[in-house]
Point group: C2
Chain length 238, copies 2
DNA sequence: TGACTGTCAAGAGCAGTGCTCTCGATTTGG
DNA sequence: CCAAATCGAGAGCACTGCTCTTGACAGTCA
């Protein structure tokens, strides 16, 4: 309203605007804390209480509980993506399987440190909540790290595309569509197919661990996870 | 109480006992219906209303909402296990990879037909709810189908254990413990490791599909899932 | 300076939830 | 036949997400 031109960023933000922005992040932070302690069923009233607010006041900043959840989910993807990027970046470029393993470890470490947020992102969808379109963008950020490893690994000749995989036509069509996504250009479908399998394996294993499905089965989760990461690295041809 | 000897089945069940048993299953059925339509946040009051009951009456049969959920989870594992067994049993014994693929398809078909129940079993744990010990038994039932395929496949020589997999000591310890579980006896750790990887892959891929993580990415889910099942079959040496 | 406009937090209130307790009615077993 | 156990109904508590109204404040234009 106070910005008819549409470029609101650089012009001096009013006192109110800045207070509003700060309050918005404070609410999100309090919500994240609640999420970490109380679990996934986020109580808007509890968040308000933590901030010394009345529940209705929160609605000045988020139109509904779902909108707050959406904001948390988006932030979560960004946070996970950042952690994944950082973990991968710490490995020498030429060590392609090492970069994949670092990516996997980074995802796992983040998930362990933010269990409930992980559940929010990769667990079963929240009751009445349907993830809106705006979350799909940030959601691909961790995947783009994988894409970069694949492309760079192929360029370096550090990934030898598997041969002899019979891929049905309809699967190939889907794979080709993925190959067209920015970031994945040029990845042959044979590699892409195996990489997507490995990606699902990673999150399947991680969900097993975090959701307690391996209790009394696996003791040394880190070693078990690492072993699967290595196995998947050779599986995709690294 | 009315059966100090411990063999209650054959003696004539009183009218009340039979009414109680029937009411218990009716509550579970109504709850399952609610789960299918309304989603995972089961409302005990809604279930009661569906049965023309008052909410407090339900507490005569289930001490809490969590206990009702537990009952549903146990039934769910049994139901999934049954479906998996049936699917696997329909394939000729000698077709070992076919049996694995049938098992995977059976799991997927069940999950598609019971999406919310699948989320209850393999999604993020329900808020305050911690799956009690009594669920761990039924939870292994689908896994036992896999175990039987592995053992039978090895006996028939239809599974060639992979060689050259370097397995760290701590992982081997965990695998050996699994090998000791009834049903898994005699499965070499090299096969077991890959089979557990494939198992996580299966559920990872299925969760991706059911929780909408592959929307706008994969079109022909069935073909994609099948392809991964075949890939994992050769991966474990079938 | 004074009025006006948009924003804010507070509070009451609605419909829903899980769960507990009490109270009659009914069935069961001695 | 009677006491004990079991059942459903109802009221009630503390909690939830959300809506609406009210009064206070900040920013701006005359």
């Amino acid at each position: 309203m106070c910005d008819p031109v549409g470029v609101s960023q650089p012009v001096a933000p009013t006192v109110r605007a800045r207070a509003r922005a700060e309050m918005t992040v404070q609410i999100k932070e309090a919500a994240r804390r609640r999420l970490a302690t109380d679990g996934p069923d986020l109580s808007l009233r509890a968040v308000a209480r933590d901030l010394g607010l009345v529940s209705s006041a929160v609605y000045r900043y988020f139109a509904s509980r779902d909108e707050l959840l959406t904001a948390l989910i988006i932030d979560g993807y960004e946070s996970l993506g950042e952690a994944a990027e950082a973990a991968e970046a710490a490995v020498p470029r030429r060590d392609v399987p090492g970069r994949w393993i670092a990516l996997g470890r980074g995802v796992r470490d983040w998930a362990l440190a933010n269990r409930h947020e992980y559940a929010l992102l990769y667990g079963s969808p929240v009751p009445g909540y349907a993830a809106p379109q705006e979350t799909t963008g940030p959601a691909t950020r961790p995947l783009l790290v994988l894409a970069q490893i694949l492309r760079d690994g192929l360029d370096r000749g550090a990934i030898t595309p598997p041969t002899g995989d019979r891929i049905p036509r309809s699967v190939r069509v889907d794979l080709d569509r993925v190959s067209a996504v920015p970031g994945f250009e040029g990845v042959p479908s044979a590699v892409l197919a195996r990489a997507m399998t490995a990606w699902a394996q990673l999150f399947g294993s991680l969900s097993f661990e975090l959701f307690g499905r391996l209790r009394n089965v696996v003791e040394d989760y880190a070693a078990y996870f690492d072993h699967q990461l290595r196995a998947m690295a050779t599986y995709v041809g690294m």
